[in-house]
Amino acid sequence: MAASANVRLRLETVRLTALFHRIAAVREVSILFPAHTVTAIIGPSGCGKSTFLRCLNRMHELSEGGWVTGKVLLDDVDIYASDVNPIQLRRRIGMVFQRPTPFPTMSIYDNVAAGLRVNGRRSRAELDEAVERALRQAALWDEIKDRLAASALELSGGQQQRLCIARALAPEPEILLLDEPTASLDPAGTQRIEELCQELKRLYTIVIVTHNLQQAARVSDDTAFFYMGRLIEVGRTRELFTKPQVEQTEAYITGRFG
């Protein structure tokens, strides 16, 4: 395991298996995500990394036939326990998807505030403050502070994605899940978001799924390699990339398959 013993645990899975009807897409994955780190999940297409990510905020069960065995512990509480409300859970865990998905009928301000408004009434002042904070954290504030009332669709792709990040950050989740967040962006947009990851880990614990090995190397502290639904290897990024312990990992990293 990668974490040293004295780092506070935030998120941990214990033999997590995710299935669609009878087919397992993720098998018996046990991993922990230490607090305030960026963990990258890499692996070839179809290896289950996105499915795994979606188990962490109980989105997987919203898919047709999706169900789960095993545990996911958030602060030692199993989020799959029967008395846990998944909706409340998702307010503590933020998620950003592959394609930017701003709400088209809302302004930039309302997009960012969306997660806050659904979580209970806030005064206008609180919302203003939270929106500004989130947009600053997403490195978008300076660019759009004068047009908060504009439609979210007027932004470029990269800006929209950062808007989605701001939207996910506004409710101040503890964990941020990123599912290939730069897959549909140009290099400039990609770079901005990668820089963000490093900055944001001061405040949040980040798990990022990526099919781009260089990105994983640039951005993460720890890396986990998945293959065919199983966790093959996990370790400090530098070590995993230079001295992988498992042959399959090495094969993937050196490009022999994937």
């Binding site: 509480v77 008395d83 846990v84 409300n85 409340q88």
Partner: protein, 336 residues
């Protein structure tokens, strides 16, 4: 999810912590509002099956006296005598089928032609306007078609169309007798104009649902545009196109106002299209307010029941055919 009793979701945890500290929101709680939402929507949606069952049951109940009295002979008796209280729906059933048949004979080639033109051959700039215009035809109310039929179509038929038709085809049983205007023919033509946009719109959606790869495969083999349509596209969409036609038929069967204004409203079975005739829908519209006795009324309800059952069967069949090509899409729901 959880089996806690239904109660409103607990208020979110206190929100007064300063924004620099992460909030430790409780993970517990129930969300009953989701269940209420689903419940409300389900109730509203159930209105539909409930409605159709209620329609059928009420029709049946209201028609029961007539059903008991006349039995199956209602379907083939030609007498409709309110005085003697003998009712037979055969002329109406005949007229409904005959007028719809005439309508289909005229409308199907026209409508399919329009649909094929719009999806395969029309240059881009023509598509939108023509499609729009054809759609407008569907928006014209039935009673306006009837008005036009009475004052424009029938005089035209009488002066310009029927004499040559009689001259050429007068020897056939279909064009016998004196043409006074209100006739099966007029009913059929008006119906044809009314169902063209409907068949065309649904056919167009069916053709658009045919994958482009079918067309391309044919073209790649060296077929001309038209050959590609004929050999690759049409056969693929065949079930759906037949469905579109049958939908049009269903529409024609139930049309009331335009038909009753031009068809002559006479309880008569005859092969000649130049003679007045009657349809089930027209009969109900015409005679419902004059039905003074219970039997008369019940007989009309039985006519309504027959009409309802026929159109339900025809529509169900058509929908199944279309569903096979354009899976579950609301094809034709906007085709007025």
């Amino acid at each position: 999810m959880t089996t806690l009793p239904i109660e409103p979701a607990p208020a979110p945890p206190n929100t007064e912590t300063p924004s620099t500290e992460p909030r430790r929101a409780s993970l517990r709680g129930v969300n009953a509002s989701d269940r209420i939402y689903k419940g409300v929507l389900t109730v509203l949606a159930l209105a539909l099956p409930l409605l159709i069952v209620a329609l059928f049951v009420q029709l049946f109940v209201s028609a029961l006296p007539a059903i008991k009295r006349f039995g199956f002979s209602f379907l083939w008796t030609s007498t409709w005598d309110p005085v003697a209280e003998i009712y037979g729906a055969a002329p109406m059933i005949f007229g409904t089928l005959a007028s719809s048949l005439i309508a289909l004979l005229i409308a199907v080639p026209l409508a399919l032609g329009v649909a094929i033109f719009l999806t395969e051959f029309a240059p881009r700039w023509v598509r939108q306007p023509v499609a729009f215009l054809v759609e407008l035809l569907a928006a014209i109310p039935s009673v306006v078609y009837g008005l036009w039929g009475v004052f424009v179509l029938i005089p035209f038929l009488r002066s310009y169309a029927v004499p040559p038709l009689k001259a050429v085809l007068g020897w056939t049983p279909f064009f016998q007798g004196v043409f006074y205007g209100n006739s099966l023919l007029a009913g059929g033509i008006i119906l044809a104009i009314m169902i063209v946009p409907y068949i065309a719109a649904v056919s167009r959606e069916v053709l658009l649902a045919v994958p482009g790869s079918q067309r391309e495969a044919a073209l790649a083999m060296g077929a001309t545009r038209w050959e590609a349509v004929w050999t690759a596209v049409l056969p693929y969409g065949r079930a759906g196109l037949i469905g579109a036609v049958i939908l049009g038929l269903g529409r024609a069967l139930g049309e009331t106002m335009a038909v009753t204004m031009v068809i002559g409203n006479r309880h008569d079975i005859g092969l000649s299209a130049l003679q007045p005739a009657y349809t089930m829908a027209a009969a109900i519209a015409n005679e419902f307010s004059e039905a003074t006795t219970d039997t008369y009324l019940s007989a009309l309800f039985e006519v309504g029941l027959i009409l309802f059952v026929i159109t339900v069967l025809v529509n169900a069949f058509a929908r199944l055919l279309i569903w096979r090509v354009a899976r579950g899409a609301a094809v034709g729901s906007r085709a007025l």
